[in-house]
Symmetry: C2
Protein backbone atom coordinates (compact mmCIF):
# COMPACT_ATOMS: atom_id res chain seq x y z
CA UNK A 1 0.00 0.00 0.00
CA UNK A 2 1.35 3.39 -0.99
CA UNK A 3 -0.01 5.01 2.11
CA UNK A 4 2.47 3.42 4.39
CA UNK A 5 5.28 5.57 3.07
CA UNK A 6 3.17 8.66 3.40
CA UNK A 7 2.33 7.71 6.95
CA UNK A 8 5.92 6.99 7.88
CA UNK A 9 6.99 10.35 6.53
CA UNK A 10 4.20 12.05 8.41
CA UNK A 11 5.32 10.34 11.59
CA UNK A 12 8.90 11.42 11.05
CA UNK A 13 7.89 14.97 10.46
CA UNK A 14 5.58 15.09 13.45
CA UNK A 15 8.18 13.63 15.77
CA UNK A 16 10.85 15.94 14.41
CA UNK A 17 8.79 19.01 15.09
CA UNK A 18 6.95 18.40 18.33
CA UNK A 19 7.12 16.49 21.54
CA UNK A 20 5.00 13.39 21.36
CA UNK A 21 4.84 11.13 24.34
CA UNK A 22 2.48 8.33 23.40
CA UNK A 23 1.21 6.42 20.45
CA UNK A 24 -2.33 7.55 21.20
CA UNK A 25 -1.18 11.12 20.90
CA UNK A 26 0.58 10.41 17.63
CA UNK A 27 -2.52 8.61 16.46
CA UNK A 28 -4.70 11.64 16.90
CA UNK A 29 -2.15 13.93 15.27
CA UNK A 30 -2.20 11.69 12.23
CA UNK A 31 -5.95 11.65 12.41
CA UNK A 32 -5.99 15.41 12.05
CA UNK A 33 -4.10 14.97 8.80
CA UNK A 34 -6.78 12.63 7.61
CA UNK A 35 -4.76 9.52 8.24
CA UNK A 36 -6.69 6.94 10.19
CA UNK A 37 -4.81 4.01 11.56
CA UNK A 38 -4.65 2.01 14.73
CA UNK A 39 -2.23 1.96 17.60
CA UNK A 40 -0.92 -1.43 16.47
CA UNK A 41 0.23 0.06 13.21
CA UNK A 42 1.98 2.91 14.95
CA UNK A 43 3.76 0.52 17.24
CA UNK A 44 5.12 -1.25 14.19
CA UNK A 45 5.99 1.99 12.46
CA UNK A 46 7.93 3.36 15.39
CA UNK A 47 9.91 0.18 15.60
CA UNK A 48 10.57 0.32 11.88
CA UNK A 49 11.76 3.90 12.12
CA UNK A 50 13.86 2.98 15.16
CA UNK A 51 12.31 5.81 17.07
CA UNK A 52 13.65 6.15 20.60
CA UNK A 53 11.85 7.20 23.71
CA UNK A 54 13.94 9.61 25.69
CA UNK A 55 13.61 11.45 28.94
CA UNK A 56 12.16 14.91 28.69
CA UNK A 57 11.90 17.34 31.59
CA UNK A 58 8.59 18.63 30.36
CA UNK A 59 6.65 15.58 29.24
CA UNK A 60 8.42 12.77 31.03
CA UNK A 61 9.31 10.78 27.96
CA UNK A 62 9.04 11.71 24.31
CA UNK A 63 9.73 10.04 21.01
CA UNK A 64 12.91 10.98 19.21
CA UNK A 65 14.14 10.15 15.76
CA UNK A 66 17.36 8.17 15.69
CA UNK A 67 20.65 9.74 14.63
CA UNK A 68 19.55 13.07 15.91
CA UNK A 69 22.23 12.59 18.57
CA UNK A 70 24.90 12.93 15.98
CA UNK A 71 25.50 16.45 17.08
CA UNK A 72 29.17 15.85 16.51
CA UNK A 73 28.29 16.01 12.83
CA UNK A 74 27.67 19.70 13.02
CA UNK A 75 31.05 20.53 11.62
CA UNK A 76 30.64 18.00 8.85
CA UNK A 77 27.23 19.40 8.10
CA UNK A 78 28.42 22.95 7.84
CA UNK A 79 31.18 21.81 5.56
CA UNK A 80 28.76 19.79 3.46
CA UNK A 81 26.32 22.67 3.19
CA UNK A 82 29.11 24.86 1.85
CA UNK A 83 29.77 22.45 -0.97
CA UNK A 84 26.15 22.03 -1.95
CA UNK A 85 25.16 23.78 -5.15
CA UNK A 86 21.79 22.49 -6.28
CA UNK A 87 19.40 19.61 -6.51
CA UNK A 88 17.28 18.63 -9.47
CA UNK A 89 15.02 15.76 -10.25
CA UNK A 90 14.69 13.70 -13.38
CA UNK A 91 13.02 10.37 -13.87
CA UNK A 92 12.28 9.92 -10.21
CA UNK A 93 15.95 10.32 -9.45
CA UNK A 94 17.58 13.20 -7.64
CA UNK A 95 20.77 14.79 -8.84
CA UNK A 96 22.77 16.93 -6.48
CA UNK A 97 25.52 19.14 -7.87
CA UNK A 98 28.33 20.11 -5.53
CA UNK A 99 31.60 21.96 -5.61
CA UNK A 100 34.38 19.74 -6.91
CA UNK A 101 35.37 17.12 -4.35
CA UNK A 102 32.40 17.61 -2.08
CA UNK A 103 30.11 14.95 -3.44
CA UNK A 104 31.42 12.05 -1.43
CA UNK A 105 31.30 13.71 1.93
CA UNK A 106 27.79 15.00 1.36
CA UNK A 107 26.62 11.61 0.17
CA UNK A 108 28.19 9.96 3.15
CA UNK A 109 26.29 12.26 5.49
CA UNK A 110 23.07 11.29 3.78
CA UNK A 111 23.92 7.62 3.95
CA UNK A 112 24.79 7.89 7.58
CA UNK A 113 21.51 9.56 8.43
CA UNK A 114 19.94 6.77 6.41
CA UNK A 115 16.49 8.20 5.88
CA UNK A 116 14.37 5.28 4.76
CA UNK A 117 12.90 7.35 1.94
CA UNK A 118 16.28 7.48 0.20
CA UNK A 119 17.30 4.01 -0.87
CA UNK A 120 20.86 5.02 -1.54
CA UNK A 121 23.29 7.42 -3.12
CA UNK A 122 26.04 7.22 -5.69
CA UNK A 123 28.62 9.97 -5.58
CA UNK A 124 31.26 11.06 -8.03
CA UNK A 125 33.42 14.10 -7.57
CA UNK A 126 30.86 16.87 -7.93
CA UNK A 127 27.64 14.96 -8.49
CA UNK A 128 25.46 12.78 -6.32
CA UNK A 129 22.76 10.54 -7.62
CA UNK A 130 19.95 10.03 -5.15
CA UNK A 131 17.81 6.94 -5.54
CA UNK A 132 14.54 7.59 -3.75
CA UNK A 133 12.20 4.99 -2.43
CA UNK A 134 9.17 4.31 -4.65
CA UNK A 135 6.29 6.74 -4.31
CA UNK A 136 8.33 9.33 -2.44
CA UNK A 137 7.84 12.84 -3.77
CA UNK A 138 10.47 15.44 -4.55
CA UNK A 139 9.20 17.46 -1.66
CA UNK A 140 9.69 14.52 0.66
CA UNK A 141 13.27 14.12 -0.51
CA UNK A 142 14.01 17.77 0.01
CA UNK A 143 12.51 17.75 3.48
CA UNK A 144 14.55 14.72 4.26
CA UNK A 145 17.74 16.41 3.11
CA UNK A 146 17.02 19.42 5.25
CA UNK A 147 16.40 17.18 8.23
CA UNK A 148 19.78 15.58 7.61
CA UNK A 149 21.65 18.79 6.88
CA UNK A 150 19.71 21.70 8.35
CA UNK A 151 22.12 24.24 6.87
CA UNK A 152 20.72 23.42 3.44
CA UNK A 153 17.47 25.16 4.31
CA UNK A 154 18.62 28.41 2.74
CA UNK A 155 20.22 26.85 -0.29
CA UNK A 156 17.29 24.88 -1.64
Amino acid sequence: MGNRTERLLAIKSIIATRKVSSQEELLSLLDKKGMNYTQATLSRDLKFLKVNKISDPEKGYIYELPDQHLISNEIAETYAAQGFISIQFANKLGVIKTLPGYANSIASLIDKANPFEILGTIAGDDTILLIPQEDVTEKDIINSLILTIPELKNKI
Copy 2:
Protein backbone atom coordinates in the same frame (compact mmCIF):
# COMPACT_ATOMS: atom_id res chain seq x y z
CA MET B 1 16.31 3.93 53.07
CA GLY B 2 20.01 3.72 52.36
CA ASN B 3 19.53 0.94 49.89
CA ARG B 4 18.01 3.14 47.30
CA THR B 5 21.33 4.70 46.42
CA GLU B 6 22.94 1.30 46.23
CA ARG B 7 20.17 0.10 43.96
CA LEU B 8 20.37 3.13 41.70
CA LEU B 9 24.09 2.65 41.32
CA ALA B 10 23.59 -1.02 40.58
CA ILE B 11 21.04 -0.11 37.92
CA LYS B 12 23.41 2.38 36.35
CA SER B 13 26.21 -0.10 36.28
CA ILE B 14 24.06 -2.88 34.87
CA ILE B 15 22.64 -0.69 32.14
CA ALA B 16 26.06 0.68 31.31
CA THR B 17 27.53 -2.76 30.83
CA ARG B 18 24.83 -4.88 29.20
CA LYS B 19 21.79 -4.67 27.04
CA VAL B 20 18.64 -4.72 29.11
CA SER B 21 15.33 -4.54 27.38
CA SER B 22 12.72 -4.73 30.09
CA GLN B 23 12.17 -3.93 33.70
CA GLU B 24 11.49 -7.57 34.44
CA GLU B 25 14.92 -8.41 33.09
CA LEU B 26 16.53 -5.71 35.17
CA LEU B 27 14.57 -6.93 38.14
CA SER B 28 16.04 -10.40 37.92
CA LEU B 29 19.57 -9.06 37.39
CA LEU B 30 19.21 -7.08 40.58
CA ASP B 31 17.79 -10.13 42.25
CA LYS B 32 20.99 -12.01 41.47
CA LYS B 33 22.85 -9.33 43.37
CA GLY B 34 20.61 -9.97 46.32
CA MET B 35 18.50 -6.89 45.75
CA ASN B 36 14.83 -7.68 45.81
CA TYR B 37 12.46 -5.03 44.63
CA THR B 38 9.37 -4.76 42.52
CA GLN B 39 8.78 -3.62 39.00
CA ALA B 40 7.06 -0.49 40.28
CA THR B 41 10.21 0.60 42.02
CA LEU B 42 12.29 0.07 38.91
CA SER B 43 9.86 2.08 36.87
CA ARG B 44 10.38 4.97 39.26
CA ASP B 45 14.13 4.47 39.33
CA LEU B 46 14.48 4.51 35.57
CA LYS B 47 12.49 7.68 35.40
CA PHE B 48 14.64 9.20 38.12
CA LEU B 49 17.82 8.27 36.30
CA LYS B 50 16.30 9.58 33.06
CA VAL B 51 17.14 6.32 31.38
CA ASN B 52 16.15 6.24 27.72
CA LYS B 53 14.88 3.34 25.70
CA ILE B 54 16.58 3.20 22.38
CA SER B 55 16.40 1.06 19.31
CA ASP B 56 18.83 -1.82 19.19
CA PRO B 57 19.32 -4.10 16.21
CA GLU B 58 19.79 -7.11 18.43
CA LYS B 59 17.20 -6.78 21.16
CA GLY B 60 14.66 -4.41 19.67
CA TYR B 61 14.86 -1.80 22.36
CA ILE B 62 17.28 -1.44 25.24
CA TYR B 63 17.74 0.93 28.12
CA GLU B 64 20.47 3.52 27.82
CA LEU B 65 21.90 5.93 30.32
CA PRO B 66 21.41 9.57 29.40
CA ASP B 67 24.28 11.75 28.24
CA GLN B 68 26.00 8.80 26.69
CA HIS B 69 25.20 10.44 23.37
CA LEU B 70 27.54 13.27 24.11
CA ILE B 71 30.12 11.76 21.83
CA SER B 72 31.01 15.29 20.81
CA ASN B 73 32.64 15.56 24.20
CA GLU B 74 35.36 13.16 23.25
CA ILE B 75 37.80 15.93 22.59
CA ALA B 76 36.95 17.64 25.84
CA GLU B 77 37.31 14.35 27.66
CA THR B 78 40.72 13.61 26.24
CA TYR B 79 41.79 17.09 27.18
CA ALA B 80 40.40 16.69 30.66
CA ALA B 81 42.05 13.32 31.16
CA GLN B 82 45.40 14.88 30.29
CA GLY B 83 45.04 17.39 33.04
CA PHE B 84 43.97 14.91 35.68
CA ILE B 85 46.63 14.10 38.26
CA SER B 86 45.02 12.29 41.17
CA ILE B 87 42.00 11.83 43.35
CA GLN B 88 41.95 11.39 47.10
CA PHE B 89 39.25 11.18 49.68
CA ALA B 90 39.00 12.80 53.06
CA ASN B 91 36.01 13.20 55.27
CA LYS B 92 33.61 11.81 52.71
CA LEU B 93 34.79 14.43 50.27
CA GLY B 94 36.76 13.85 47.12
CA VAL B 95 39.68 16.01 46.13
CA ILE B 96 40.92 15.93 42.58
CA LYS B 97 44.28 17.46 41.78
CA THR B 98 44.85 18.65 38.23
CA LEU B 99 47.47 20.43 36.22
CA PRO B 100 47.22 24.20 36.68
CA GLY B 101 44.20 25.59 34.90
CA TYR B 102 42.51 22.28 34.24
CA ALA B 103 40.26 22.12 37.27
CA ASN B 104 37.37 24.10 35.89
CA SER B 105 37.03 22.24 32.64
CA ILE B 106 37.19 18.88 34.33
CA ALA B 107 34.66 19.94 36.93
CA SER B 108 32.38 21.23 34.24
CA LEU B 109 32.48 17.88 32.48
CA ILE B 110 31.45 16.18 35.69
CA ASP B 111 28.70 18.67 36.28
CA LYS B 112 27.44 18.25 32.77
CA ALA B 113 27.27 14.48 33.10
CA ASN B 114 25.46 15.15 36.33
CA PRO B 115 25.73 11.75 37.98
CA PHE B 116 23.22 11.76 40.80
CA GLU B 117 25.80 10.30 43.17
CA ILE B 118 27.87 13.49 42.99
CA LEU B 119 25.95 16.33 44.50
CA GLY B 120 28.24 18.96 43.10
CA THR B 121 31.76 20.19 42.52
CA ILE B 122 33.76 23.24 43.42
CA ALA B 123 36.76 23.99 41.29
CA GLY B 124 39.72 26.29 41.76
CA ASP B 125 42.66 26.39 39.41
CA ASP B 126 44.25 23.02 40.05
CA THR B 127 41.91 21.46 42.60
CA ILE B 128 38.38 20.16 42.48
CA LEU B 129 36.29 19.41 45.51
CA LEU B 130 33.75 16.69 44.94
CA ILE B 131 30.74 16.58 47.19
CA PRO B 132 29.29 13.09 47.06
CA GLN B 133 25.76 12.10 47.87
CA GLU B 134 25.28 10.58 51.32
CA ASP B 135 26.15 6.90 51.61
CA VAL B 136 28.03 6.75 48.34
CA THR B 137 31.36 4.96 48.58
CA GLU B 138 34.71 6.03 47.18
CA LYS B 139 34.52 3.18 44.74
CA ASP B 140 31.18 4.45 43.50
CA ILE B 141 32.60 7.90 42.93
CA ILE B 142 35.52 6.53 41.01
CA ASN B 143 33.31 4.35 38.83
CA SER B 144 31.16 7.34 38.17
CA LEU B 145 34.16 9.42 37.13
CA ILE B 146 35.30 6.75 34.75
CA LEU B 147 31.85 6.53 33.25
CA THR B 148 31.96 10.27 32.68
CA ILE B 149 35.55 10.41 31.45
CA PRO B 150 36.56 6.96 30.24
CA GLU B 151 40.13 8.07 29.56
CA LEU B 152 40.65 8.28 33.31
CA LYS B 153 40.58 4.51 33.58
CA ASN B 154 44.36 4.26 33.33
CA LYS B 155 45.11 7.20 35.56
CA ILE B 156 43.17 6.14 38.66
